[in-house]
Amino acid sequence: MPRKTVYTAEIDFLQILDEEGRFDESEGLENGQPILSDEQVAYLYEQMSICRHLDEVAFKLQRSGRMGTYPQNKGQEANAVGSALAMKKGEDWLVSAYRENAALFMHGLPMHNVLVYWMGDERGSKVPDDVLVTPLSVPIGTHMIHAAGIAWGMKLRGDRDRAVITYFGDGATSEGDFHSAMNFSSTLKVPLVVFCQNNQWAISVPREEQMASETVAQKAIAYGMPTIQVDGNDIFAVYKATKEARERAVAGDGPTFIEGVTYRLADHTTADDARRYRSPEEVQAWLDKDPLIRTRKYMVARGFWDDEKQTELEARTKRIVKEVVAAAEGIEKPSTTDFFDHMYAELPEELKRQRDTMRTSSLGQDPSQVGLRAEGQRV
């Protein structure tokens, strides 16, 4: 019997706004109008600009010793804002890694939370009750399973018009947790958008060395999951793909995979120096594809943006970030015994003892508990 083909697949690539600011009407129009209104584009541009400036300031804070390690978002803002706009604020959950700040801000996370967190204060992870984002997740890919679980919960409860989006990098697709989340979410058909920020680098390991597949998007095929690759520096393409994915999710058609092709323009974190492993030419090529530059070109071409508005935005951005830094640095310092808080719903006796005597290295430091008979005490 001759061999036959039992499966073939193709991966679509979607780009609407290219790096020159050219707009593809065949994909980008709906009812004769751009899928993002001018107001929406201006709003996303502002969100990206604020996030970019926050990055720059955070970097300086770190270099001057006022902050711990910080991972810059620079270059990846379009993935964050385009997808966040397509998700429903107050209904959908955002389950993020740590390079989607703008998405979290758009869904209501106070900006200073992120700085407080990276300043090394757990209170940065305390999200206001009405904000549906989970704390930043630094272990790679572990949060993706939580996203699948939250989405599964929505499905079991019969929630309507609700979905979850989870963000992760290309590097996370090497983790077993990625596989677990993909398998569970697709077999259980949960309302999930699986959003890969392919920024080409897992710290110092380039994408080609992380995986043998041509694209990240094709990994979803094995899970029977609809999948697409988009230009992740194009807010229109990101928005459109996420919107379609969300529609599938809330219609009960299960998860969708999106690979947003972008580039980490900055170091992995402030503890990294990317110049040691990648060429200036490569970085320059991606600087030219910067999402902010092309969005601004589009806005100028559409006639609703000019230098004056840009200057005004930059001033506003600076003011906002300054306030955010002040809020982050103004938070009252925690007391040393605070670290016993929230260990358990109720603090166990042993921890109460430790807290009361602040002896954490050895029980023997607490005189009341040293097991020696008092002098003169009969044996």
């Binding site: 572990t142 399973i145 679980g149 989340a181 569970f184 260990m343 719903a345 097991g371």
Partner: protein, 354 residues
């Protein structure tokens, strides 16, 4: 029942009334250990619709070890859930469910398999409350077989308590008998924090009286399994039986009377009960089915020396497994585990020590 409000819990949390006396341990309603576990889960599932059971083979197959037999029929496939073979996946999904207000029970067919879910159960569940500033709790029970099941080979014979007890934020329960299994598992399901509940394949068929009524055994309260004044034997889980056997043998052969403490929970650890006993007997042997290095036994001995040094007449003694991977061969496995003979020998030697 007492009520507690906690920011991470969506509804006011209800604690059992632990001051209520427990029902008698003696009686004629004799059931298996696995049935006691099933009864605990079923009672809590009937009481609280947020409780569900998830794991490999738990539903259609009625559980790899028949712990969940019949539960699918009673509770349906929304609450008794078969999963793909992906401990990491369903542990993480369970954590998300707990964060979202449900009360998952996640069954590991064996705790040995929990190692592939290590990040979820050690790096996520026990830290969720802490790292989210008490925004999300993680009221979840992970349960399954722990310890050498009988010639299952080294990779399937893990005693995880020594390794996992090092992690703050978890509670670790390890019952030794059906009565305690029911009362402790019910408490575990109600508990607002992540609980690791360690069963033993070797004990699932053990039979004993288990009251039909509902009862909750508090965490951190050891049970005095046998009373004596010459030496304190401390253990938890399956080796408690070996301690009692050894104590009976020692009483008959040597006239040595041992206190046997069944710790029931490792975190929290009822160190006060141990210290109280040591102050009476002045000698302690800790029997632990983990490897000796940095084990629970090591921790107990350290705390006893810190808190009751002057009351000790001899150095504390540990009876652990041998410090090697669990042997596959039958005779070797038996020799490797703590057993009645090794415990009795340790006590005899200690009794002669000055």
């Amino acid at each position: 029942m007492t009520t507690l409000t906690h920011p991470a819990l969506d509804k006011p949390y209800t604690y059992p009334d632990f001051d209520k006396p427990l029902p008698p341990r003696e009686g004629d309603r004799v059931i298996q250990f696995r049935e006691a576990l099933r009864e605990a889960m079923s009672e809590e599932m009937r009481r609280d619709e947020r409780v569900f059971l998830m794991g490999e083979e738990v539903a259609n197959y009625n559980g790899a070890y028949k712990v969940s037999q019949g539960m699918l029929d009673e509770f349906g496939d929304k609450r008794i859930i078969d999963t793909p073979i992906s401990e990491n996946g369903f542990a993480g999904m369970g954590i998300a469910a707990a964060m979202g207000g449900l009360r998952p029970i996640v069954e590991f067919m064996s705790w040995s398999f929990s190692l592939v879910a290590a990040d979820q159960i050690l790096n996520n569940a026990p830290k969720m409350l802490y790292m989210s500033g008490a925004q999300w709790g993680c009221p979840i029970v992970f349960r399954g077989n722990n310890g050498a099941g009988g010639q299952l080979g080294s990779t399937h014979s893990w005693c995880v308590e020594g390794l996992y007890a090092n992690v703050p934020g978890v509670k670790i329960v390890i019952p030794s008998n059906p009565y305690d299994a029911k009362g402790l598992l019910k408490t575990a399901i109600l508990d607002p924090d992540p609980v690791f509940f360690l069963e033993s394949e070797r004990m699932l068929g053990d039979k004993a009286h288990v009251p039909e009524e509902e009862y909750y055994i508090p965490f951190g309260k050891a049970r005095l399994a046998r009373e004596g004044s010459d030496v304190t034997l401390v253990s938890f889980g399956r080796p408690v039986h070996f301690c009692v056997e050894a104590a009976e043998k020692l009483a008959g052969d040597e006239g040595i009377e041992a206190d046997v403490l069944d710790m029931r929970t490792i975190r929290p650890l009822d160190i006060d009960a141990i210290v109280e006993s040591v102050k009476k007997t002045n000698r302690i042997v800790v029997v632990d089915q983990c490897w000796p290095f940095a084990s629970i036994a090591s921790e107990v001995c350290t705390q006893v020396m810190e808190r009751a040094f002057d009351w000790l007449d001899a150095a504390p003694v540990r009876v652990n497994t041998a410090d090697v991977p669990t042997p596959y061969a039958k005779g070797l496995e038996a020799a490797y585990l703590p057993n009645t003979e090794r415990i009795a020998a340790a006590v005899t030697k200690l009794a002669g020590a000055r």
